[in-house]
Amino acid sequence: MIALFEILIEVCVTGGKTKKVEKARRKFLKIVSHILGGALAAGILAPLAGFLAHPLLKKTVYGTEDFIRLGSIDDFPIGIPKKMPVTSSKMDAWNIFEGLVMGSVWVIRQKDNSLQVLSTNCPHLGCGIDWGADVNKFLCPCHEGVFDIQGKVLSGPSPRSMYSFKTKIENNTVLVDYKNLI
């Protein structure tokens, strides 16, 4: 605006094209170019940013059940850990996947029919944990981690006991909350 006034005053005073008028005119054009260019860039970038930020604003993967069915209670022997695959449905962006294997868990049925469901991944660095039937212990082969049947760390590098999951039994069906580690 200042540049515009400069031009006006100068034109009024001199009544024509002087170097000063030219200079002021260019200054004005520079300011307006910056403003218009900025507005144009904003008008282009705003919808692009909104679009790109879609995964921040809305879920792109969803539809997994809160409690996933593992099987009937009778499928699990008392006192012996059994490895079970966890399958669920999942909406992944545009795709719907039904019966997708999401991972697996160790299920131990106690004498009182209560259940303990442990993660198959070692809390140390995520290796798969095996059940050593001969020694009655969980063994992680990567760095020789050893856990007891409750998942408590006995030896090895693991900083904590094995992760477990919340479970419930409804109508003899075992359900596990696979999304949340305990």
Partner: protein, 605 residues
């Protein structure tokens, strides 16, 4: 602080000098609005690049995922439809501005010595632009792109000797598949942009070397008298032009509600392929080059035209730029342009007046709308087409086309020996039948029913009643139905047609539950049953040909033909318990769980 940072960078890079050198370029003869088209093209190219990069964050190039990901961009994201629209129509905008730029360069004689290479790189850039349009069209893997691109790759195949090899290389095999998409995607986002950038840098560098080509009438003295710096005099005009371009483009996208997305590519369909408008002249040209002459339209004429453009600066060696001194070249270029315009207009005109094409367009729009609704429930990993696998209307249409279309017509396509099923089961359709059963549209000469000679109003009453028998009537008028019932039961209809007892037999079809799903099913199974046409039947029975599911689908399709029925089968809402949570797989909104209701929200005008 900002100054210090600038100083630090300046001391190490000298970027200020580079900028100064780039922006202080003198524009001889003064900055002009006529010079904005080249920079307008660069602006549009940048716009295509950034919208393209953002879309690439969502796009997935394979024959099973491409359509789904574009559907997701279009329907599920905020602004995705807008960004895609800008990218889609941006290609058209580039083509328009490029043609203006091209024509202006020709009129100004800017291809003449020493600017021959400017011109040649410009022609190359124009060809690359067409390559972008061609490769981008296929990427959504919808009907339109799939079939139009088939035509293009088959044209490549007509090139003598090497054509077939180039075609297979482009397709990534002898037929369309995953590799077609990965290759077209690679061309569209890597090879073509890099090539364009390469030639663009040369094009712009040469432009800076030789400067603008001013109007041919300006004398050297006049050019020397007025010299404006590129910044801000010309840049200001360029920015204003870029703003106008973007405003028009954004307005166009809003007006159209974004770019079109047709239903997923179906290799089994017979879709009428039409390319993007800037290829229509080539497409139309092929109609006149038939049989052995095909190669004239596909290879010889385009090659001649492109060759002419390449050698133009070398045949027009006269340094004078005044158009009046270049009449023959104007004649060649103008006739080429006029020819292209005439062919384009001819193609559009033809398509606008061909009822077959119009019907096909209408159908594909309905199909696209159906695809959008079905896809909302999630697309199975089998790919876009799989959304139709369980859609009874789609299945029904297929069954109808395979079994019924030979005799029954729908929307102008099909045989004429049996009733026309356009708008089947609607009040108007029934009223027309009553009025004149011997009409070509209904039973023709084989019709034995006499026309119902009653006033128009009474005919509508009867058809309202008959339509109500199906139990599917939308917004039925109870008064009309009652009057219609009186007319049918007490009039002459009931002499031949049994109404009320499902198994009663008279000489004409039993109308109990007329056009209901059950009635249609029994009828299609055994039209020669004595409760229908008996011995006078001409239609084959489908009891052994179609199973129950197929019959249900066929009937669902027949129901959909009447305008009062929804175009998308809404599937009776099946609540399904799936280990722990409840969702209805095919609810009208595709409600999987409450979350989707939120994600289904979108910014659309």
């Amino acid at each position: 602080m900002a100054n210090q940072v600038y100083e630090w960078i300046e001391n190490r890079t000298g970027i200020g000098n580079v900028m100064k050198h780039a922006l202080d370029e003198p524009v001889h003869g003064g900055a002009r609005w006529t010079y904005v088209f080249g920079s307008g093209l660069i602006f549009l190219f940048i716009l295509q690049v950034i919208t393209g990069i953002v879309m690439a964050c969502f796009y997935s190039p394979s024959s099973t995922t491409a359509w789904g990901s574009v559907y997701y961009i279009q329907e599920k994201t905020s602004f995705g439809w807008f960004v895609r629209g800008i990218h889609h129509f941006g290609s058209s905008a580039m083509m328009i501005v490029a043609i203006i730029h091209f024509f202006q360069v020709f009129v100004y004689g800017a291809y003449k010595k020493p600017r021959e290479l400017n011109w040649i790189t410009g022609v190359i850039l124009l060809l690359i632009l067409m390559g972008f349009g061609l490769t981008g069209y296929l990427l959504p893997w919808d009907q339109k792109g799939y079939w139009a691109t088939q035509v293009a790759t088959n044209i490549i195949g007509t090139i003598p000797v090497i054509g077939e090899y180039i075609k297979v290389l482009h397709q990534g095999g002898s037929d369309y598949g995953n590799f077609t998409l990965t290759r077209f995607f690679a061309l569209h986002v890597f090879l073509l942009p890099l090539s364009l950038l390469f030639f663009l840098v040369i094009h712009v560098a040469l432009f800076r070397k030789h400067g603008v080509t001013p109007h041919w009438k300006l004398s050297k003295q006049e050019l020397r008298n007025r010299i404006d710096p590129f910044w801000p005099d010309q840049v200001f005009k360029d920015i204003v032009f870029a703003m106008i371009l973007y405003a028009i483009l954004a307005g166009w996208v809003f007006w159209n509600g974004g770019a079109e997305l047709q239903s997923p590519a179906d290799p089994a369909s017979n879709y009428l392929a039409r390319p993007e408008w800037y290829f229509l002249f080539l497409f139309q040209l092929l109609k006149y080059c038939q049989g052995n002459l095909l190669i004239v339209g596909t290879v010889i004429l385009p090659t001649l035209a492109v060759t002419f453009l390449f050698v133009l600066p070398f045949i027009d060696r006269n340094p004078l730029r005044d158009p009046s001194k270049r009449i023959p070249f104007f004649a060649v270029i103008s006739s080429g342009m006029v020819g292209a315009v005439v062919l384009t207009v001819a193609s559009i005109h033809h398509d606008k007046h061909d009822t077959h094409i119009l019907h096909q367009r209408e159908d594909s729009e309905i199909q696209a709308a159906r695809a959008m609704k079905l896809a909302a429930a999630g697309i199975s990993p089998a790919g876009g087409m799989s959304i139709f696998l369980n859609d009874p209307i789609y299945l029904g249409e297929k069954i109808f086309k395979a079994n019924c279309n030979g005799c029954h017509m729908v929307k102008g396509a099909g045989g004429e020996t049996a009733p026309d099923f356009t708008d089947f089961g609607s009040r108007q359709w029934i009223a027309g039948l009553l009025k004149n059963p011997k009409d070509k549209k209904y039973f023709g000469e084989s019709g034995t029913m006499p026309p119902v000679q009653l006033p128009e109003e009474s005919l509508l009453d009867i058809s309202e009643f008959l339509a109500s028998l199906s139990g599917k009537l939308h917004e039925g008028d109870p008064g009309r139905i009652e009057r219609g019932r009186e007319l049918v039961m007490k009039g002459q209809c009931a002499i031949c047609h049994p109404v009320g007892d499902k198994n009663a037999q008279k000489i004409a079809p039993n109308l109990t539950g007329y056009l209901s799903d059950e009635w249609l099913k029994e009828f299609i199974k055994t039209p020669a049953d004595r409760k229908f046409y008996g011995t006078r039947n001409k239609m084959p029975g489908y009891e052994d040909t179609l199973n129950d599911k197929e019959l249900d689908s066929l009937i669902e399709y027949l129901n959909s033909l009447s305008k009062k029925q929804p175009a998308v089968s809404l599937y009776k809402k099946q609540e399904r318990t799936l280990t722990g949570y409840v969702y209805s797989q095919y609810g009208s909104m595709g409600i999987l769980c409450p979350e989707i209701v939120i994600t289904g929200y979108q910014m659309r005008p």
